[in-house]
């Protein structure tokens, strides 16, 4: 089925170094979230649900897992004829040396040939490390309606936090008149979500020029968008309402997981009209034992619970033994909590074992404790 003439490029090269050990071996888009997902499942599922057939995923940092994960386009239903997910790490070309992606714009520039081969009218640029549900097709409708050269998705943020974002100042029609990257004194609270629709012909010209500019940092926010505005192009803001989270730190990743515990939470992963697709694992459903005590929790298949789980999110195959306590915590896939251990306000990395009687984290800590090494039991 032919859907739109828009192709999507997901920028998934970032390390996310403030996630510490979680991104030692995997890039940030491959980090686990919400019990059974990886962050990159969100933009990929959004693409699939928005009727986008071709998705390029630009990988760079620790990309082995991400490459193999994303290459199975079938998971998101992106495997029909003329449809696919393509992994695009930097590559050597006849006319240039092998080079890393020097910035977000450069990553696209280095794949102009890939995009050209599909001859799309529009190109959608996405970030691979945000959690949200969005219909890009509606954004494309707005883009066409405005006859814009580029459309940028924006979300309202609290004005006191606005200086952490790229801020769009718009006129009354929604046209962007000014863009300020992390302004000290923000004039509006419309933050860029790093989601752009461009007319491909224009973007292609811009990127070709940008590549030759020795002063450019080859970044969409710092170089391409300001240049478009300077050239007097028509840029519109597309207002997004709903859940959107950039999980840059351990605290914010923990918080984004905790958000799922609220009744009628905004992300609503249970929405059958906009499912988030992920890897299909062949393990039995969750086993809840006789001694289990579960209150406010998000638990998935393969978990075995014999202990106490309060206010926590448990990922595929996590085990909580009898008399163990897991409070206000996130247990990533395959984590094992032995008898008598207590885990409070912690984020336990995949396959970590917490030994018998061990105490991890504390209820009054300022930050969430990241546990990524096995903790020995207390005899």
């Amino acid at each position: 089925m032919k859907h739109s003439n828009m192709l999507a490029m997901i920028l998934a090269g970032g390390r996310g170094s403030r996630l510490h050990e979680l991104t030692n071996k995997v890039a940030k888009p491959a980090v686990s979230y919400g019990g059974k997902y990886r962050i990159v499942d969100f933009p990929l599922s959004n693409c699939a649900n928005s009727g986008i057939d071709i998705v390029g995923v630009l990988t760079q940092y620790e990309s082995i897992l991400l490459n193999s994960y994303v290459a199975a386009g079938r998971r998101w239903g992106l495997d029909a004829k003329n449809s696919g997910v393509y992994v695009l790490p930097p590559r050597e070309k006849a006319d240039s040396n092998l080079d890393v992606y020097r910035g977000t714009a450069d990553a696209i520039s280095q794949n102009i040939d890939f995009i050209d081969s599909y001859a799309p009218e529009y190109v959608l640029i996405l970030s691979g490390d945000h959690i949200y549900k969005m219909d890009y097709d509606k954004m494309l409708d707005a883009h066409k309606e405005h006859q814009a050269d580029a459309t940028i998705a924006v979300i309202q943020v609290p004005i006191k936090e606005a200086s952490r974002f790229g801020i769009m100042n718009t006129d009354e029609t929604g046209r962007i008149v000014e863009f300020e990257e992390k302004p000290e004194h923000p004039k509006s609270n419309l933050a860029s979500m790093g989601i752009y629709i461009f007319n491909w012909k224009l973007l292609r010209r811009m990127l070709t020029a940008d590549m030759k500019n020795p002063d450019s940092s080859h970044d969409f926010g710092k170089d391409i968008i300001p240049q478009l505005l300077a050239d007097g192009k028509t840029l519109f803001a597309y207002h997004f309402k709903g859940y959107w989270k950039d999980v840059g730190t351990i605290d914010s990743l923990w918080e984004a997981n905790m958000d799922l515990l609220d009744k009628n939470n905004e992300l609503d992963l249970n929405d059958h009209t906009w499912k988030i697709y992920t890897e299909d694992v062949s393990i039995p459903p969750q086993y809840i034992g006789e001694t289990a005590d579960i209150k406010r929790a998000f638990i998935t298949q393969g978990c075995i619970i014999d202990g106490t789980v309060h206010n926590s999110v448990l990922f595929t195959g996590a085990r909580v033994s009898e008399t163990a306590k897991v409070i206000d915590s996130v247990l990533m896939p395959g984590v094992k909590i032995a008898e008598g251990a207590t885990v409070t306000r912690a984020l336990v990395a995949a396959n970590t074992k917490i030994g018998k009687g061990a105490v991890v984290g504390s209820a009054d800590s300022e930050h969430i404790e990241l546990v990524s090494k096995d903790i020995k039991g207390v005899e």
Partner: protein, 371 residues
Amino acid sequence: MAKAFGIVNFAGNHIRVEGMQAYRPIGAFSFLGRYRLIDFPISNMSNSGIDHIQVYIRRKPRSLVEHLGTGRHYNINSKKGKLHMLFSENGVENDIYNNDIAAYLENMECIEDVHYPYVVIAPSYMVYSMNYQNLLKNHIKSGADITLLYHSVDNAKEFFSNCSILNLNRQNGVLSLEPNRGNVENRNIFMDTYVMKKDLFIELVHEAKKISSVFTLADIVNQKCAELDIRGMAHSGFFASITDFKSYYHANIALNNYQTARTLFDLNWPIYTKTNDSCPTQYFETSNVHTSVISDGCLIEGSIENSIIGRGCIIKKGAVIKNSVILPGCTIDEDVWIENQVIDKRAQIVHAKELIADENHPGYVRRGDRI
């Protein structure tokens, strides 16, 4: 070593699961919340390296066809391998003729076309894990003509009705097959699983038809016990035969025990099923869950004990579910008490405040009912 192809067979005319079978063949029954019964034989075959699998379907194919789809989720090579759905339409006017032999004859061309010398035949209505390579190796080593899989049980009086039993000699030679009449506790229950040469299988199918139009494969094998070398091979681990309503209920409830479940599920022996892309299950402040198996995509505010909850169920505040099997997509409303029940798919228990059955005679709520 893929020397054998697989056949997954439907339940014979003597098998009837009250209630549920009105909507779908037994192979398509939801099992343990997220599986369908047919996932077990197909996963066993796939894990055993059998990549050509024929699934025979006779009535109400919709749910089974939808579930099996292209078969990709069973981890079968998508080019070399094949999950082949075969239908039998003969004898629609009179069911007694519509048995396994009729289905094999109708699709004989497809059987003859397969290049593997051996065939493993397994039922779609029994739950067990088994490496069929071991069965095949054992069969070839023994030099037997046919090997039949059986499970020794000590409760054949009350359970395993509608099953056959094997009478064995001391060398595990099969003397005869007969229906389980429920008069003796210790029996070798025939698991309706066979391995033999493909050529012998084809021969037996033709011969059965000559003898009687209503002869089944088990009938002809029984008749051949004196003539051919037919042996039994014992199976160990979890075994359930879904051949009546009670056995369906009990097989589900038995797997509530994790130690029991470990004899069915093994990390190195995955049971594949079609993913529904459900999100994890959400437990709320008022939830109270013990000794239960819970599938993904549920919203749980009530109490659940010793029960199986299917995918995407909503259990509201104050609801109590005890010793019950809730199939996918059901809603149990506030303060409803459910005990010893099987609630079929997408039913909603809203008005009734109590659905309590005797523990020896579990109740049944029909698919999609609103009570």
